[in-house]
């Protein structure tokens, strides 16, 4: 990695955490993992650890709202009929694949930190799965990247 100076690659600053879910994991289990690990999102992987999607807390919150909420300009006029918990119970046992983002940004472990920071910033990402030839090897968050740089 010494090409005209020392440049740190993502693999040295990423969190080497392989916590992930499969497409078939239920939303309830996913939520349990998220709250246990204090993560914002989880990579979704197939049997060969290839990253095929991502599921985040926002995806789950969105899924817990009734469909018509998303169409309303301002749903403030609606009283609380417990729609949230009704919908949440409805989706608890559904698989991740119904709510995950199939379009997922990943980053190769040999990418430079600047490029990773740029991607996190441009796409407004809160986490970025790090891969080696498509297979999950860790995750990168803005704080892991920033903390490492400032130390």
């Amino acid at each position: 990695m010494l090409q005209g100076g020392f440049e740190l690659k993502i693999k040295t600053v990423m969190i080497p955490d392989l916590t992930s879910v499969s497409e078939e994991t239920t939303i309830m289990e996913t939520l349990k993992i998220l709250s246990m690990q204090r993560l914002f999102g989880l990579p979704v992987v197939d049997n060969e650890q290839n990253v095929i999607g991502i599921i985040t807390e926002s995806d789950i919150i969105r899924a817990c709202l009734p469909d018509y909420y998303k169409e309303l300009q301002n749903p403030a006029f609606l009283p609380d009929f417990n729609q949230f918990s009704k919908q949440a119970k409805k989706i608890a046992h559904l698989p991740v694949k119904e709510f995950m983002n199939h379009k997922v940004y990943t980053i190769e472990e040999n990418t430079s930190r600047t490029e990773a920071a740029n991607l996190l910033f441009r796409k407004n990402l809160r986490m970025l799965p790090v891969v080696r030839k498509g297979k999950l090897v860790g995750v990168l968050t803005p704080s892991s990247l920033g903390k490492h740089a400032m130390d």
Partner: protein, 444 residues
Amino acid sequence: MSLDISFSLDSVREEMEKEKMNQTIIALIIFITTLIFVSLEKINRTVIVLSGALIFILSKILDQQEAFSSIDFKTIGLLTGMMVMVSIIKKTGLFQYLAIKISKLAKGNIFYLLFSISIISGVLSSILDNVTTIILIVPITLAICENLEISPVPLILSEIFASNIGGTATLIGDPPNIIIGSAGQLSFMDFIVNLAPFIIVLLILLPFFIRLFFKKEMSRSASKNWQRIEKFDEKKAIEDPFLLKKSLISFFITIIVFIFHHNLGLEAATVALSGATLLLLVSGIDPADSLLEVEWSTLFFFMGLFIIIAGVEKVGIIEWLSKKLIGLTQENLSLTTMVILWVSALSCSFVNNISYTISMVPIIHNIGEATSFNLNPIWWALSLGACLGGNGTFIAAAANLVGVNILKRQGKTITFREFSRVGFPIMILSIILSSAYLYFRYLM
């Protein structure tokens, strides 16, 4: 020697004739290709018409001066002014407030709910564009239906039809009317006096007609969960009461000026742009934000179309068509009016009513020059046909597509066939009634 000169003059004339013939063919090809591509919807329609307009200029059928002066900036100005005003008033939450308030009047009866929500859609659509009306009212209807545990389909279809019908009532309700108002020198009040009374009748009849198609849905009772709807707090829909007060006053002033714009010697476009300026001034909203909500793509679609039609007109196609039409109807005003009404309605069930109306305007002008007709009934026939035709199929009007798409996102798919099963008879019935109205009011 003299023979020679006349020969060369003849050849010049022949050359010119040939050139003109070529131009006519090129113009026809551009026009028809543009129409086909616009209806295929594979490429953005604005890009298509702008390309068509450009080809007219590059092939020298129109010089640049002619092209630019063919754009009707009165139409563009009126559209822009209304778009800015609506973008600001929309933020206040007023329209949701009205929709909820009116829906509550139904008191648990599904037919009353259908009735009230159709009327408010029609009324809103007469001052807003149809798509905005649908985007505002359909989500509220979904919320109501979900809580009442009833099917939203009949209500939402009725709202779509009502928005197309209601838009016909005023100069600012639907783009064809804006084009017709500018082309025929017809004022805001002309539309109110001539079209609104008839449109109100159609709007009242609509829910009864919808009920015939959805007997099962309408016979259900909604009183069980009605107290939930009673709990809807419409006051919370008002997002900014202070902005609401300021913008309502400005909007009210604008409407008053609209009513008298003809007497004041003001163009409708001038009034709309003044209203927009006044609203920007009192609301303190950054024009950059408001102007972002203006549908520039639609405005450029209009501009491209105006240029294309000017090209088609210049090569004589429009004149030829008008002569055919006059010949066909034997210079009979009643017959001409009816032909325009029915052809417009049937065409606009399939093609976009903006391009259709812009094409028809020069034809009607030509008819006016060639005959001694009072053109007013013909303009009203064009307006009724172009606007009400929009109910025929779901591809006919943007409001239909938007409404059907919102339903689709809720997991309720309405097919082309299902839409037309209700929409086409409604369109035909409204055109039969329009024929009777035009005949008894203007032609008898």
